[in-house]
Symmetry: C2
Subunit: 188 residues, 2 copies
């Protein structure tokens, strides 16, 4: 089966390349907004909706991969910041504390669908106002959920993680491998 990544994220593309997968990219046209669901249910629902959107116009030998990543603090989702000041206020809230990163992964193809979710706990270092402002000024936070990119300079804000690292980047590769195997697509 030919894998199609239903995401425009360059980070997800790099992660699939890291494990040597062949794939094409066809981002979903729309992203649903859901509310009233748990973090796990939310990322699973959005990942599945993205994959199903692309699957509508896919060919039978294509396997569509949808994913959605959310950062939760105190049970509340932190999306992408709207501007630098918004990024600064998010980073202040994350400073010195743990938060959760959830990614939902959906595979749709061959008449089947499969959705799963992974959670990683991230602990931030205590951040000075100066460091927060310098990081925000790099522009890196602006297109990232939670206002940081762990695969960039944002790693300097992180004290430790507990769980799957790539899940924080945007795609839990170990989980994805198991899911692909159940579709008869071997990885490695």
């Amino acid at each position: 089966m030919n894998i199609v990544l239903a995401s425009a994220s360059p980070r997800r593309r790099e992660l699939l390349e890291q494990i040597g997968l062949s794939f094409s990219v066809r981002p979903a046209a729309s992203e649903p907004s859901v509310c009233g669901l748990s973090p796990e249910q939310t990322v699973c629902a959005v990942a599945l909706a993205k994959a199903e959107d692309v699957a509508l116009a896919a060919s039978p030998e294509e396997l569509i991969l949808g994913a959605d990543t959310l950062v939760y603090l105190d049970g509340e989702p932190l999306g992408k910041p709207s501007d630098t000041e918004h990024a600064v206020s998010m980073l202040r809230r994350l400073s010195g504390r743990e938060h959760d990163v959830y990614t939902g992964v959906a595979l749709v193809g061959g008449g089947r669908k499969l959705v799963r979710c992974e959670r990683t706990v991230v602990r931030f270092r205590p951040l000075t106002e100066d460091l927060i402002r310098r990081y925000a000024a790099t522009g890196e936070p602006l297109d990232k959920a939670g206002a940081y990119g762990i695969q960039g300079r944002g790693c300097l804000l992180v004290e430790s993680i507990h769980g799957d690292y790539n899940n924080v980047v945007g795609l839990p590769l170990g989980l994805l491998r198991d899911m692909l195997e159940s579709f008869g697509v071997p990885v490695l």
Copy 2:
């Protein structure tokens, strides 16, 4: 001060680039072998020896960065495998269990030296013999301590980590940032 990386590791180079550091590369000519020390003492001693080796011929405005990473299982270091069969036997031992990764980081320059160490716990998935053989066949394990590279396909073998991810890749960037700051070199 001008940072000089006393390591030939392409992974350490990439990590320094990730945080936007300017640096040059000048690998240490020799690597000491130490024995009878704890994991922390071992990586610190080797990191410092590498930095001091390069510092001998350095100019006064240079700050030398040495690092050493070791994988420990049951209190015993796992070095780089000598061949594919050796890699297979290391991976069999790591399967389904936790091990520790230690990196020592040394800075030498301006009449000062500073050495510190970081530990990350890595838990491997339970690996089938087939998966181990397929991973070993990629050749990726051969130049890696512990026979895997978490930043490559080796991530598929890892269930979770607890601690700093970049420490497992070869350089704990958060710790390095604190150390550089104490030398008056701001990062970020």
